[in-house]
């Protein structure tokens, strides 16, 4: 490989790595920060969704399991 090609490849890889790092997903969610978007109320935090999801699961899971068990008995 010629030096110019190596330099071009190095530049391409560096640029690619830089671009992907800038907007790369997968960073841990900052739960205490205000929510993004226009749907929220001012006081809402990102972590509110996780709390609500756990509460909903506690409410729904027994009902769904009972319902499913009832349907298999029929």
């Amino acid at each position: 490989m010629k030096p110019l090609e190596i330099a071009a490849l190095a530049t391409f890889l560096a640029a690619g790595a830089g671009a992907s790092a800038a907007d790369a997903p997968g960073k841990p969610m900052k739960m205490d920060e205000p929510m993004h978007g226009e749907m929220k109320k001012e006081s809402m935090k990102k972590g509110d969704v996780k709390k609500a999801a756990k509460k909903k699961e506690r409410e729904m899971k027994p009902m769904i399991e009972k319902e499913a068990a009832g349907s298999t008995k029929k």
Binding site: A24, P25, K27, M39, A52, M63, E67
Partner: protein, 252 residues
């Protein structure tokens, strides 16, 4: 001095006049209550009774929308040239906080009124007959964008797993903790797709890898991304935004 009450001051007047004055008083008192609430910074809608009433009205609204829903009416489809580029990212978190799901270990969990509850891997899901659509995503925030999604017809998937399609609801839980639910009629609509691809590429994380339910007849927040599990039930599951007061049906 004799204290004048409403009864004494209105005595002798015609019943029609009394009713008219009572109406005016009611309106004035209502306005005063509203002004007082504004001055005190108190939100009357925080009251539990008011909340309960509003929720009841919203559920009635859902039922009315369900009756009006035409399961055979299709949402408009568009040519490739109409696709919005770049397609907007939208979530309750930033783009860099998008949840990364490991496709190798991924299994879609099934619960509730479903006969075959075996979890589905991505290769199994990718192996199902696929279809594409170019439709408009309409956000409750007031913007819209056209995109191309590909995947399996949700009605086909539900038939394959033996879902009880006489049940009322299908609920979804997602890797980013979001949750929502839809009515069965919408689930069976021919344009409701369980999608794995966006713009002919594997669904990127920011658009919901590994799986997004695409429903062109409903608002964007009824289109869950990063779906990890689903259940069929007759128990009303609500949803995150829906439980905050957004209309549950949110569709046409």
């Amino acid at each position: 001095m004799k204290k004048r009450t409403m009864e004494t001051s209105l005595a002798g007047h015609s019943p029609g006049l009394v009713r008219s004055i009572e109406r005016r008083l009611f309106l004035k008192q209502g306005l005063s209550l509203g002004a007082l609430a504004l001055l005190s910074g108190c939100d009357p809608t925080d009251d539990e009774g008011v909340q309960s009433l509003l929720k009841g009205m919203s559920r009635w609204n859902d039922r009315a929308q369900g009756w009006l829903f035409n399961p055979n009416k299709l949402a408009p489809e568009y040519p490739e040239s109409a696709i919005t580029k770049p397609f907007p990212f939208n979530a309750f978190y930033s783009e860099e906080e998008v949840t990364l799901v490991d496709g190798k270990d991924y299994k879609l969990e099934l619960e509730g009124l479903i006969r075959e509850k075996k979890p589905w891997t991505l290769p199994e899901l990718y192996g199902l007959p696929q279809t594409s659509q170019i439709t408009r995503h309409i956000c409750v925030e007031g913007w819209s964008a056209i995109g191309k999604w590909s995947g399996v017809r949700f009605s086909d998937f539900l038939a394959r797993v033996g879902a009880d399609t006489s049940a009322k609801y299908i609920g979804f839980t997602c890797a980013d903790d979001y949750y929502t639910s839809i009515d069965m009629a919408t689930a069976l609509h021919p344009q409701t797709l369980l999608t794995f691809r966006f713009a002919d590429q594997v669904l990127p994380p920011k658009y919901g890898f590994p799986m997004k339910l695409r429903i062109p007849t409903k608002l964007g927040f009824k289109n869950p991304k990063h779906i990890m599990s689903m259940f069929v039930s007759n128990e009303f599951p609500g949803g995150y935004w829906e439980d905050q007061g957004y209309n549950w049906f949110s569709g046409s």
